[in-house]
């Protein structure tokens, strides 16, 4: 079965410092991987995805993610954190279910960026 793990419930970082939010995956076949962000009292928003090609994927709001096949990881990164980046981040992997694609989400990592 396909799954993702987000090993950290919370990540704390100071504004201006680089940030990393970790994700590892388990999937049979080629992985399709995604990051979503949830701001307080809002639904989730798509950030970026890896389907194929370049291992470094760029997305919205200056975020990027690095696909590492040997480590089965897809960590979310940003060179310089902003206070406004504080939110809940979800990693997701595509799963196949009777031929239909659905997403399996991780448990989420709360990012707190302090001024």
């Amino acid at each position: 079965a396909q799954s993702v793990a987000q090993p950290e419930d919370q990540v704390n970082v100071a504004e201006g410092n680089p940030l990393t939010v970790k994700c590892t995956y388990s999937v049979s076949g080629n992985p399709y991987l995604f990051w979503y962000v949830q701001y307080p009292n809002r639904g989730l928003q798509f950030l970026l995805k890896y389907i194929t090609g370049d291992n470094l994927v760029k997305g919205s709001y200056g975020f990027e993610a690095e696909f590492n096949k040997s480590q089965t990881s897809f960590h979310l990164k940003k060179p310089s954190a902003l206070v406004s980046d504080s939110a809940l981040y979800f990693c997701a992997v595509r799963a196949l279910n009777t031929g239909f694609q659905k997403l399996v989400f991780g448990t989420g990592t709360r990012l707190l960026v302090s001024p």
Partner: protein
């Protein structure tokens, strides 16, 4: 601007009541989903629909049913609400052309007393 609209942001119901959660999307998407979100458990898929009048069980369908009579509308029904169904419910839609790119509504927070 694309939009997924959930009819109620906050609901309070009593045990045993029938509950309807409505979701409408204006993007002509074929696929629609209902998730529930609970702290420490992330998002769990309840039901999804890949087209009108089609529905498939997700990972936690027990106690829920769905209806999709029109392409833009996907309803989640709790036939007899229970306290363990207190949760945040998220509706999402996507086009079959863009794998994994879900558009979410803002959520419906349901409290069952």
């Amino acid at each position: 601007d694309v939009k997924v609209t959930q009819s109620s942001r906050y609901l309070v119901k009593r045990t045993g009541e029938k509950v309807f959660l409505e979701c409408v999307q204006d993007m002509d998407h074929e696929n629609m989903f209902w998730y529930r979100q609970d702290p420490g458990l992330g998002l769990r898929l309840i039901y999804f629909s890949y087209d009108v009048k089609m529905k498939e069980k997700g990972d936690i369908p027990e106690g829920y049913s769905v209806s999709r009579e029109k392409k833009e509308r996907f309803s989640l029904i709790l036939e007899s609400a229970s306290t363990n169904q207190t949760s945040m419910y998220l509706c999402a839609s996507k086009s079959w052309r863009t794998p994994g790119e879900l558009f979410f509504g803002e959520g419906s927070r349901l409290t069952v007393l």
